[in-house]
Protein backbone atom coordinates (compact mmCIF):
# COMPACT_ATOMS: atom_id res chain seq x y z
CA UNK A 1 0.00 0.00 0.00
CA UNK A 2 1.56 3.33 -0.97
CA UNK A 3 2.40 5.87 1.69
CA UNK A 4 2.06 9.62 1.22
CA UNK A 5 3.29 12.71 2.97
CA UNK A 6 0.73 15.50 3.07
CA UNK A 7 1.78 19.10 3.58
CA UNK A 8 -1.09 21.34 4.68
CA UNK A 9 -0.86 25.13 4.64
CA UNK A 10 -3.43 27.12 6.60
CA UNK A 11 -3.65 30.91 6.47
CA UNK A 12 -6.18 33.43 7.68
CA UNK A 13 -8.47 34.68 4.93
CA UNK A 14 -7.42 38.03 3.48
CA UNK A 15 -10.51 39.64 5.05
CA UNK A 16 -9.47 38.55 8.57
CA UNK A 17 -7.17 40.77 10.57
CA UNK A 18 -3.84 39.02 11.07
CA UNK A 19 -2.25 40.81 14.04
CA UNK A 20 0.75 38.45 14.06
CA UNK A 21 1.48 39.16 10.43
CA UNK A 22 1.11 42.87 10.99
CA UNK A 23 3.48 42.80 13.97
CA UNK A 24 6.10 40.92 11.96
CA UNK A 25 5.65 43.35 9.07
CA UNK A 26 6.21 46.32 11.37
CA UNK A 27 9.31 44.68 12.84
CA UNK A 28 10.72 44.10 9.36
CA UNK A 29 10.07 47.70 8.49
CA UNK A 30 11.99 48.81 11.61
CA UNK A 31 14.85 46.57 10.47
CA UNK A 32 15.10 48.57 7.24
CA UNK A 33 13.09 46.16 5.13
CA UNK A 34 10.60 48.83 4.23
CA UNK A 35 9.87 47.21 0.87
CA UNK A 36 8.29 44.15 2.55
CA UNK A 37 4.50 44.08 2.72
CA UNK A 38 1.62 41.62 2.92
CA UNK A 39 3.10 39.53 5.75
CA UNK A 40 0.69 36.79 6.83
CA UNK A 41 1.48 34.26 9.55
CA UNK A 42 -0.09 30.84 9.04
CA UNK A 43 0.26 27.19 10.01
CA UNK A 44 2.04 24.31 8.38
CA UNK A 45 0.89 20.78 9.24
CA UNK A 46 2.45 17.51 8.05
CA UNK A 47 0.66 14.17 7.93
CA UNK A 48 1.54 10.69 6.74
CA UNK A 49 -1.28 8.70 5.15
CA UNK A 50 -1.34 5.27 3.55
CA UNK A 51 -3.79 3.96 0.97
CA UNK A 52 -4.61 4.39 -2.67
CA UNK A 53 -4.00 7.90 -3.96
CA UNK A 54 -7.59 8.72 -4.93
CA UNK A 55 -8.95 7.62 -1.55
CA UNK A 56 -6.20 9.36 0.36
CA UNK A 57 -6.89 12.60 -1.53
CA UNK A 58 -10.59 12.50 -0.67
CA UNK A 59 -9.83 11.67 2.96
CA UNK A 60 -7.24 14.43 3.23
CA UNK A 61 -9.58 17.01 1.71
CA UNK A 62 -12.14 16.09 4.39
CA UNK A 63 -9.58 16.30 7.20
CA UNK A 64 -8.34 19.67 5.98
CA UNK A 65 -11.85 21.15 5.63
CA UNK A 66 -13.40 19.69 8.76
CA UNK A 67 -10.60 19.62 11.31
CA UNK A 68 -7.32 21.27 10.33
CA UNK A 69 -8.86 24.54 9.18
CA UNK A 70 -11.90 26.62 10.02
CA UNK A 71 -13.38 27.71 6.66
CA UNK A 72 -15.08 30.67 8.35
CA UNK A 73 -11.77 32.42 8.86
CA UNK A 74 -9.06 30.37 7.17
CA UNK A 75 -7.97 29.24 3.72
CA UNK A 76 -6.19 25.93 3.37
CA UNK A 77 -4.33 24.11 0.62
CA UNK A 78 -2.41 20.87 0.58
CA UNK A 79 0.25 18.97 -1.35
CA UNK A 80 0.47 15.19 -1.43
CA UNK A 81 3.69 13.38 -2.21
CA UNK A 82 4.24 9.63 -2.42
CA UNK A 83 6.99 8.38 -0.12
CA UNK A 84 9.44 6.25 -2.10
CA UNK A 85 11.10 3.48 -0.12
CA UNK A 86 14.86 3.75 -0.49
CA UNK A 87 16.47 0.32 -1.02
CA UNK A 88 18.56 -0.64 1.98
CA UNK A 89 17.37 2.32 4.05
Amino acid sequence: MPTFTAKVFVTLKPSILDPQGRTVERALSHLDHANVSGVRVGKYIELTLSGERAEVETQLQGIVENVLSNPIMENARWELEEVREVAGA
Binding site: L12, L17, V67, N70, I72, M73
Partner: protein, 227 residues
Protein backbone atom coordinates in the same frame (compact mmCIF):
# COMPACT_ATOMS: atom_id res chain seq x y z
CA UNK B 1 -32.57 23.31 36.67
CA UNK B 2 -30.48 20.16 36.32
CA UNK B 3 -27.03 21.28 35.18
CA UNK B 4 -24.09 19.42 33.65
CA UNK B 5 -20.68 21.09 33.40
CA UNK B 6 -18.51 19.58 30.68
CA UNK B 7 -14.83 19.15 31.53
CA UNK B 8 -12.26 19.01 28.75
CA UNK B 9 -8.55 18.50 29.32
CA UNK B 10 -7.47 22.10 29.92
CA UNK B 11 -10.78 23.45 31.23
CA UNK B 12 -9.84 25.75 34.11
CA UNK B 13 -13.09 27.53 34.92
CA UNK B 14 -14.93 24.28 35.55
CA UNK B 15 -14.86 24.62 39.33
CA UNK B 16 -16.07 28.23 39.09
CA UNK B 17 -18.87 27.10 36.79
CA UNK B 18 -19.85 24.33 39.21
CA UNK B 19 -19.84 26.74 42.14
CA UNK B 20 -21.96 29.31 40.29
CA UNK B 21 -24.41 26.69 39.06
CA UNK B 22 -24.78 25.14 42.53
CA UNK B 23 -25.22 28.56 44.11
CA UNK B 24 -27.82 29.84 41.66
CA UNK B 25 -29.50 27.00 39.79
CA UNK B 26 -28.93 23.46 40.89
CA UNK B 27 -27.42 22.31 44.21
CA UNK B 28 -26.69 18.97 42.53
CA UNK B 29 -24.94 20.36 39.44
CA UNK B 30 -22.25 17.94 38.34
CA UNK B 31 -19.21 17.54 36.13
CA UNK B 32 -19.30 15.41 32.98
CA UNK B 33 -16.01 14.25 31.46
CA UNK B 34 -15.55 14.88 27.72
CA UNK B 35 -15.15 11.21 26.83
CA UNK B 36 -18.65 10.37 28.07
CA UNK B 37 -21.11 9.30 25.39
CA UNK B 38 -24.16 10.87 27.02
CA UNK B 39 -25.41 13.52 29.42
CA UNK B 40 -26.88 12.64 32.83
CA UNK B 41 -30.58 11.76 32.63
CA UNK B 42 -32.77 14.86 32.80
CA UNK B 43 -30.04 17.41 32.07
CA UNK B 44 -31.63 20.80 31.29
CA UNK B 45 -28.57 23.07 31.10
CA UNK B 46 -25.19 22.13 29.64
CA UNK B 47 -22.43 24.51 30.71
CA UNK B 48 -19.26 24.57 28.60
CA UNK B 49 -16.76 26.32 30.86
CA UNK B 50 -13.79 28.53 30.06
CA UNK B 51 -10.19 27.43 29.88
CA UNK B 52 -7.78 26.16 27.29
CA UNK B 53 -9.20 22.87 26.08
CA UNK B 54 -6.42 20.76 24.55
CA UNK B 55 -4.06 23.66 25.12
CA UNK B 56 -5.81 25.65 22.36
CA UNK B 57 -3.78 23.57 19.90
CA UNK B 58 -4.84 23.75 16.26
CA UNK B 59 -7.42 26.47 17.06
CA UNK B 60 -9.06 27.37 20.35
CA UNK B 61 -11.98 25.02 20.97
CA UNK B 62 -11.41 23.02 17.78
CA UNK B 63 -10.45 19.68 19.30
CA UNK B 64 -12.94 19.90 22.17
CA UNK B 65 -15.70 20.54 19.62
CA UNK B 66 -14.93 17.14 18.11
CA UNK B 67 -14.77 15.18 21.38
CA UNK B 68 -17.27 12.36 22.13
CA UNK B 69 -19.57 14.28 24.52
CA UNK B 70 -20.27 16.96 21.91
CA UNK B 71 -22.57 14.65 19.91
CA UNK B 72 -24.80 14.46 23.00
CA UNK B 73 -24.54 18.23 23.53
CA UNK B 74 -25.65 18.82 19.92
CA UNK B 75 -28.61 16.48 20.36
CA UNK B 76 -29.51 18.25 23.59
CA UNK B 77 -29.39 21.62 21.78
CA UNK B 78 -31.47 20.33 18.88
CA UNK B 79 -34.12 19.15 21.33
CA UNK B 80 -34.30 22.71 22.68
CA UNK B 81 -32.16 22.07 25.78
CA UNK B 82 -30.20 25.01 27.13
CA UNK B 83 -26.48 25.33 26.42
CA UNK B 84 -24.27 28.06 27.87
CA UNK B 85 -20.72 28.39 26.55
CA UNK B 86 -18.41 30.84 28.30
CA UNK B 87 -15.06 31.96 26.84
CA UNK B 88 -13.43 28.73 25.65
CA UNK B 89 -16.95 27.30 25.81
CA UNK B 90 -18.05 29.96 23.28
CA UNK B 91 -15.11 29.00 21.06
CA UNK B 92 -16.16 25.33 21.32
CA UNK B 93 -19.75 26.24 20.33
CA UNK B 94 -18.63 28.06 17.18
CA UNK B 95 -16.21 25.26 16.27
CA UNK B 96 -19.01 22.73 16.79
CA UNK B 97 -21.31 24.71 14.49
CA UNK B 98 -23.86 25.33 17.27
CA UNK B 99 -23.27 29.08 16.91
CA UNK B 100 -22.19 30.98 13.79
CA UNK B 101 -18.88 32.81 13.33
CA UNK B 102 -15.47 32.29 14.86
CA UNK B 103 -13.24 33.76 17.57
CA UNK B 104 -9.79 34.88 16.47
CA UNK B 105 -6.77 36.50 18.11
CA UNK B 106 -7.43 39.75 19.94
CA UNK B 107 -6.77 42.74 17.69
CA UNK B 108 -3.81 43.87 19.81
CA UNK B 109 -2.39 40.35 20.44
CA UNK B 110 -2.69 40.90 24.19
CA UNK B 111 -4.38 38.59 26.64
CA UNK B 112 -7.02 40.73 28.37
CA UNK B 113 -7.95 39.95 31.96
CA UNK B 114 -10.10 42.68 33.51
CA UNK B 115 -13.64 43.57 34.48
CA UNK B 116 -15.45 45.04 31.47
CA UNK B 117 -18.81 46.65 30.90
CA UNK B 118 -21.44 44.93 28.81
CA UNK B 119 -24.77 46.22 27.59
CA UNK B 120 -27.76 43.86 27.60
CA UNK B 121 -28.94 44.21 24.01
CA UNK B 122 -31.77 41.71 24.20
CA UNK B 123 -33.50 41.15 27.53
CA UNK B 124 -36.09 38.86 25.95
CA UNK B 125 -34.10 35.64 25.80
CA UNK B 126 -34.16 32.70 28.18
CA UNK B 127 -30.73 33.80 29.41
CA UNK B 128 -31.45 37.49 29.93
CA UNK B 129 -35.05 37.78 31.15
CA UNK B 130 -33.88 38.84 34.63
CA UNK B 131 -32.08 41.91 33.21
CA UNK B 132 -33.53 45.21 32.07
CA UNK B 133 -33.11 46.12 28.40
CA UNK B 134 -29.96 48.21 27.98
CA UNK B 135 -28.73 47.37 31.49
CA UNK B 136 -24.98 47.80 31.90
CA UNK B 137 -23.24 44.87 33.59
CA UNK B 138 -19.74 44.57 35.01
CA UNK B 139 -18.37 41.12 34.24
CA UNK B 140 -14.74 40.00 33.92
CA UNK B 141 -13.09 38.83 30.71
CA UNK B 142 -9.94 36.68 30.45
CA UNK B 143 -9.05 35.73 26.91
CA UNK B 144 -6.50 36.02 24.13
CA UNK B 145 -8.82 34.96 21.31
CA UNK B 146 -12.12 36.73 21.74
CA UNK B 147 -12.26 38.70 18.53
CA UNK B 148 -15.66 37.74 17.14
CA UNK B 149 -15.82 37.39 13.38
CA UNK B 150 -18.53 36.33 10.97
CA UNK B 151 -19.18 37.19 7.32
CA UNK B 152 -21.26 40.35 6.70
CA UNK B 153 -24.41 38.36 5.90
CA UNK B 154 -24.23 36.47 9.19
CA UNK B 155 -23.60 39.66 11.17
CA UNK B 156 -26.58 41.35 9.50
CA UNK B 157 -28.76 38.36 10.33
CA UNK B 158 -27.64 38.23 13.97
CA UNK B 159 -28.44 41.92 14.32
CA UNK B 160 -31.79 41.72 12.53
CA UNK B 161 -32.93 38.75 14.60
CA UNK B 162 -31.94 40.27 17.94
CA UNK B 163 -29.39 37.54 18.52
CA UNK B 164 -26.63 39.86 19.71
CA UNK B 165 -27.40 39.50 23.39
CA UNK B 166 -24.43 41.31 24.94
CA UNK B 167 -22.26 44.08 23.49
CA UNK B 168 -19.03 45.53 24.93
CA UNK B 169 -19.21 49.15 25.99
CA UNK B 170 -15.45 49.47 25.26
CA UNK B 171 -14.51 46.74 22.81
CA UNK B 172 -11.40 45.03 24.24
CA UNK B 173 -10.62 42.59 21.43
CA UNK B 174 -11.77 43.93 18.08
CA UNK B 175 -15.01 41.94 17.84
CA UNK B 176 -17.21 42.99 14.94
CA UNK B 177 -20.09 45.23 16.09
CA UNK B 178 -18.68 45.02 19.66
CA UNK B 179 -20.26 41.59 19.99
CA UNK B 180 -19.68 39.92 23.38
CA UNK B 181 -22.39 37.27 23.31
CA UNK B 182 -24.85 35.73 20.84
CA UNK B 183 -27.62 33.16 20.82
CA UNK B 184 -28.57 30.60 18.19
CA UNK B 185 -31.66 30.91 16.04
CA UNK B 186 -33.85 29.04 18.54
CA UNK B 187 -32.52 31.07 21.46
CA UNK B 188 -31.54 28.08 23.60
CA UNK B 189 -27.76 28.26 23.03
CA UNK B 190 -25.79 31.25 24.37
CA UNK B 191 -22.10 31.84 23.76
CA UNK B 192 -20.26 34.72 25.43
CA UNK B 193 -16.64 35.66 26.04
CA UNK B 194 -17.07 37.35 29.47
CA UNK B 195 -17.31 35.11 32.55
CA UNK B 196 -20.68 35.45 34.34
CA UNK B 197 -19.74 32.56 36.66
CA UNK B 198 -17.01 34.81 38.09
CA UNK B 199 -19.55 37.49 38.98
CA UNK B 200 -22.19 35.81 41.10
CA UNK B 201 -21.29 37.09 44.57
CA UNK B 202 -20.39 40.42 46.18
CA UNK B 203 -17.22 38.77 47.39
CA UNK B 204 -16.12 38.41 43.76
CA UNK B 205 -16.54 42.12 43.10
CA UNK B 206 -19.73 41.86 41.07
CA UNK B 207 -23.02 39.98 41.14
CA UNK B 208 -23.94 41.10 37.65
CA UNK B 209 -23.43 37.66 36.09
CA UNK B 210 -26.05 36.14 38.31
CA UNK B 211 -28.88 37.34 36.10
CA UNK B 212 -28.04 34.79 33.42
CA UNK B 213 -28.64 31.94 35.84
CA UNK B 214 -31.63 33.64 37.45
CA UNK B 215 -33.15 34.14 33.98
CA UNK B 216 -32.99 30.41 33.27
CA UNK B 217 -34.92 29.76 36.48
CA UNK B 218 -37.78 32.04 35.55
CA UNK B 219 -38.23 30.82 31.99
CA UNK B 220 -39.93 27.44 31.61
CA UNK B 221 -38.03 25.01 29.39
CA UNK B 222 -40.80 25.12 26.79
CA UNK B 223 -40.24 28.85 26.41
CA UNK B 224 -36.61 28.67 25.35
CA UNK B 225 -37.22 30.55 22.10
CA UNK B 226 -36.37 34.20 21.75
CA UNK B 227 -39.51 36.08 22.67
Amino acid sequence: MKTAIIQFPGSNCDADALHAARLTLDPDAQFVWHTEAGLPEGTELVFLPGGFSYGDHLRSGAIAARSPIMAAVKEHAERGGFVLGVCNGFQVLTEAGLLPGALSRNRDLHFHCAPVHLRVENAHTAFTGAYAPGQILEIPIAHGEGNYYADPGTIARLEAEGRVVFRYVDNPNGSLNDIAGIVNEQGNVLGMMPHPERAVERLLGSEDGRGIFESLKIVPTSRSLIR
